[in-house]
């Protein structure tokens, strides 16, 4: 099944962007969207444009920073990189996500 990415709640998209930037280093919007689609292995069809509001939100929170540069096709493009605060957030979110998953799993097990 595939879900438009805009249906996925904020928290998850943020997590994916942070993870991407953490792994790939500085990227522009296209690069991030492409990578997310790749990693989701076709389970998601992404409206790529929707990452821009998310990138703005992350930048407002101080978890990523941006810089103007030139893209591979010589266009003016903004490059994003994760910050230290962003890295801490990523670690925390990964941990809490893992806990939530564990709790839900427990609940599901109990009812069987």
């Amino acid at each position: 099944m595939s879900a438009a990415l805009s249906e996925v709640p904020y928290g998850t998209l943020d997590l994916m962007i942070l993870k991407t930037l953490n792994s790939l280093g500085a990227q522009h919007g296209y690069g991030i969207a492409r990578r997310i689609e790749q990693v989701a292995r076709g389970l998601l069809a992404l409206n790529q444009g929707t990452i821009y509001p998310a990138l703005l939100r992350l930048e407002q929170k101080g978890w990523i920073g941006s810089e103007w540069g030139t893209s591979e096709n010589n266009r003016r493009a903004k490059f994003y990189a994760i910050t230290r605060a962003g890295r801490k957030q990523l670690a925390a979110k990964e941990e809490s996500w893992a806990r939530t998953v564990a709790m839900v799993n427990l609940l599901l097990e109990d009812h069987q």
């Binding site: 296209y30 409206n47 821009y52 509001p53 096709n73």
Partner: protein, 886 residues
């Protein structure tokens, strides 16, 4: 480059990269672009979302928090009510006092460019020096730094007679009328609401108002009250005293003169209403002065220029022979009006009261903080879950702070109502003086700004720490633990600190109240030197038509005869000075057989009194005789002196029979040069103030130094209401020239001099008790909560055999710690800050040990009692119930 352009560039770059990717897969360039657009999604939609994210992020999360908070607060109505109530009291009290402070000290006069106005005074070495009226005229004509220079003789009560068309007239007594120079309204920059104001032409012809008539400007309030805003008021004539005055104009609404707290009903020009004596007297002063700086001239320059001019004129005048360079002109900011007794008396007390209510607010905030912390315990689980699903701690703190701000806002709304009523009550408290205080309490921009600042400050004070403490939650353990966890360790410590702080602050206020109370007791226990009880004092305004000594003397004796005929009058007298009215007259003397030192000027205070004065007010005679009827106008001049004068000028000898004379070379008017024989010595007394040590003073018969009557003293057992009308009629039978300003018991006249002390004491006591109640409520709350938390533990102990006393002591141990901390903080704080009160204290120091001990004992007792009640409740715990609840 706008952010919109930036975004466009980003989007374009992204689309191009997508298109390239598709082209690499084999699509044509047109198809690739289409495919890129498809992959990207709706551009305009995205731009909208982007703009929303940029602009409304703050507002969105704020709106969310506010909605959530309101839901929370509605689900806990008791908590909300208690919190809002405490805040309303605290914020309201602070705003009430500030409103008064604003009206008294901060509000500028409703005139044009009030920042250009200055109050003009003279000083010698920083002490008061005189600018006489003739000196003012010289300065005004020769200076060039002022756009205008104004003199005002303040407010005088007059009898105003308003003739009506039917031929009769309405007589109004005690109407305050301001005497001002002709340029007054012009210089202040006040436009007439109707008609015109004075010109220089109206302000000439000294002492001519009774003969030639004059003009008068009415205040808006008087015009409304007496004439119903009749536009035909102009050209009507009313009588101010005995002077017929044409009404030429009405002052604009809201203008009430240059003095804060007074509100003349009308203004007249000063020269026609003043005697030659006053207008030409270079040795006395009856006016105050204001000026408007010329545009571009700053106060420092003007002050220097005026000082130079002043010194020149002093030398030309010839009255001061040496050291004219010690005299300076001082220009003070005049935008808020003249610095007058009302302001001077109450400025400090009001500031002290502001500090007191600020302390009360802090205590109230501590209570609300504790309430929040207690509720925070119940919300630990909620916080844990929210943190777990990705809420940042910052967002959590923001939500809790929103709660604080909303509580504070609600408190501020309710507080505004408290402020409205409270400021009126405060004004009533300071109005216990000779004249009702006409302060216009306005709730203007400054007051609302203050309210807002106090509300926000309170929100931060009581909200920040709980917000930070409560949200310091590790989600894991909370989710695992049972939800009855209760307050965590750090929150509990914060809670206890708040209570200790409250106790400390309450102690501070109680000690202050105690010091003031005992001071007033000390003052009241002072022997005034006369018997003030059962004496009524009539404050008179006497404007005699005939001022020759014989006529004045006759009026005095006739008045006395009539008054003594009234029933229930034990004794009566008249005098030229009113006790405890802050008025003073001194006479330069030459005393036989006393040689003054080289730098000594013998000037002694005196009062001209009728026979019976000393007996009526109960001043005991120690030697010789008192003034009697035989000391008439043409009899040998006599005087009764007080002990201080005897000690000072007649040391070692018996003063009776010795003589003195008024030193004509230094006197203002032409006094009799006859020798005055001393016929009696009277006990020292306090004449004007509780605090002032007695000074030399003498009494002369009013028949021998005739003057207008200022005071009528009547010893009677009747209250003022019973006898005032009869006295008024008796006076009217003798002459129409006497107007009764006030009638009151002498005890009250004396007490009024302590108005500032009494105000401060009453408010300090009231707020001190309020603070103590708040602190005890806080302590009670915290201890109740602690006991509830430890129910299980108590149950176990009781099951194991602990008796009631042991349980109580267990609870009390915690309380003792809080109380001790509170006292440990509060005592040094009190010792440091009661210094502020030192001006009001009498007979004890700011660190009086007895008062401190009593206040501390009261506090500890009250606190112990508040903690005892929950402790007792703990002993009634049924161990089985307690254990089962675990």
């Amino acid at each position: 480059m706008t952010p919109e352009d930036d975004l466009k560039d980003e989007i374009q770059a992204h689309l191009d990269l997508l298109a390239e990717e598709h082209e690499r897969r084999g699509l044509s360039s047109a198809e690739a672009r289409l495919a890129a657009r498809r992959d990207f999604g709706g551009v305009e939609q995205m731009k909208e979302a982007y703009r929303d994210q940029r602009g409304f992020r703050w507002i969105d999360s704020l709106a969310r928090d506010v909605r959530y908070t309101i839901r929370l607060l509605r689900k806990a109505p008791v908590f909300t009510a208690v919190a809002v109530f405490s805040l309303a009291l605290g914020i309201g009290a602070n705003t009430a006092v500030f409103t008064l402070l604003d009206a008294l000290l901060l509000r500028t006069l409703p005139v044009r460019d009030s920042h250009e106005l200055v109050e003009v005074t003279a000083q010698k070495h920083g002490e008061f020096a005189m600018i006489s009226f003739p000196m003012y005229r010289d300065l005004r004509d020769l200076q060039d730094v002022f756009g205008g220079f104004v003199a005002t003789a303040g407010e005088t009560p007059y009898r105003v007679t308003i003739p009506d068309s039917a031929g009769s007239a309405t007589e109004l007594d005690n109407i305050p009328v301001g005497l001002v120079s002709g340029n007054y309204f012009e210089v202040l920059g006040v436009p007439p609401a109707l008609g015109r104001f004075f010109t220089a032409d109206d302000d000439r012809n000294p002492h001519s108002s009774e003969a030639l008539g004059s003009v008068v400007v009415l205040s808006d309030v008087f015009w409304e009250r007496q004439f119903g805003r009749d536009p035909r008021i102009l050209e009507r004539t009313i009588s101010i005293g005995r002077s017929p005055c044409r009404v030429i104009g009405i002052a604009p609404r809201g203008f009430s003169g240059e003095v804060v707290g007074s509100s003349p009903a009308a203004w007249v020009p000063i020269v026609p209403f003043s005697s030659d004596d006053n207008l030409e007297n270079r040795r006395g002063v009856f006016t105050a002065y204001m000026a408007r700086l010329k545009p571009g001239v700053d106060r420092v320059r003007a002050q220097a220029a005026m000082t130079v001019l002043f010194q020149q004129l002093l030398r030309a005048e010839g009255r001061i022979r040496d050291h004219t360079e010690d005299f300076t002109i001082a220009l003070a900011d005049g935008a808020t009006g003249l610095d007058v007794p009302l302001r001077r008396t109450f400025a400090r007390p009001i500031r002290i009261v502001m500090a007191i209510v600020a302390v009360v607010l802090l205590i109230a905030c501590a209570n609300v903080a504790n309430l929040l912390l207690a509720r925070g315990a119940a919300r630990q689980a909620e916080f844990g879950v929210r943190l777990a699903i990705g809420c940042s701690r910052r967002q959590l703190v923001a939500q809790v702070l929103t709660e604080s701000v909303i509580l504070s806002a609600l408190g501020a709304f309710a507080g505004a109502a408290v402020a409205y009523g409270g400021s009126g009550a405060l004004l009533g408290l300071i109005s216990t003086g000779p004249a009702p205080v006409a302060l216009d309490l306005q709730f203007g921009v400054r007051v609302f700004a203050f309210l807002a600042v106090v509300a926000i400050g309170s929100a931060v004070a009581f909200g920040l720490l709980p917000a930070l403490r409560m949200t310091r939650v590790d989600p894991g353990p909370v989710l695992k633990k049972s939800l009855r966890a209760g307050l965590g360790g750090p929150a509990q410590r914060a809670s206890r600190s708040f209570v200790s702080l409250q106790i400390a602050l309450s102690l501070l206020l109680l000690i202050g109240a105690g010091l003031l109370l005992r001071s007033l007791q000390n003052l009241h226990r002072l022997d005034l030197g006369f018997r003030a009880d059962s004496v009524l004092v009539f404050d008179l305004a006497h404007t005699p038509q005939q001022r020759d000594p014989a006529s004045l003397s006759a009026v005095g004796s006739q008045v006395l005869r009539r008054i003594r005929q009234l029933p229930n009058v034990e004794s009566a007298s008249v005098s030229g000075l009113l006790l405890f009215s802050r008025s003073d007259i001194g006479a330069p003397l030459r005393i036989a057989d006393y040689t003054p030192r080289a730098d000594e000027r013998v000037t002694v205070r005196y009062n001209a009194v009728s026979p019976g004065y000393l007996e009526t007010i109960g001043m005991p005679l120690i030697d010789g005789r008192s003034i009697e009827d035989r000391d008439a106008f043409d009899a040998p001049m006599v005087a009764v002196i007080n002990e201080s004068m005897a000690r000072r000028y007649f040391y070692g000898t018996r003063p009776i029979g010795r003589t003195m004379a008024i030193d004509v070379t230094r006197a203002d008017s032409a006094p009799p040069a006859k020798a005055i024989e001393i016929i009696g010595i009277v006990r020292d007394a306090r004449y004007n103030s509780f605090r002032q040590d007695t000074r030399p003073m003498f009494y002369v018969p009013i028949a021998q130094l005739p003057r207008s009557l200022r005071s009528l003293e009547v010893r009677t057992s009747q209250p003022a209401s019973a006898i005032a009308a009869q006295v008024r009629q008796a006076l009217a039978e003798v002459t129409k020239d006497i107007m009764i300003r006030r009638v009151l018991p002498l005890t009250e006249q004396v007490d009024q001099s302590l108005a500032a002390e009494r105000l401060t004491m009453r408010l300090c006591t009231f707020f001190g008790c309020l603070a103590l109640v708040l602190a005890c409520v806080g302590l009670y709350g915290v201890m109740s909560y602690a006991v509830a938390q430890r129910t299980a533990e108590i149950g176990v102990r009781m099951a194991l055999g602990a008796n009631a006393t042991a349980v109580v002591w267990l609870v009390f141990r915690e309380t003792t710690h809080m109380i001790l901390m509170g006292v440990a903080i509060g005592l040094p704080l009190a010792l440091a800050s009661t210094r502020l009160l030192s001006g009001f204290l009498y007979g004890l120091t700011a660190t009086d040990p007895a008062t401190i001990a009593i206040a501390t004992a009261c506090l500890v007792a009250a606190a112990a009692l508040s903690a005892y009640i929950p402790a007792r409740r703990a002993t009634r715990v049924d161990p089985l119930v307690a254990l089962r609840a675990e």
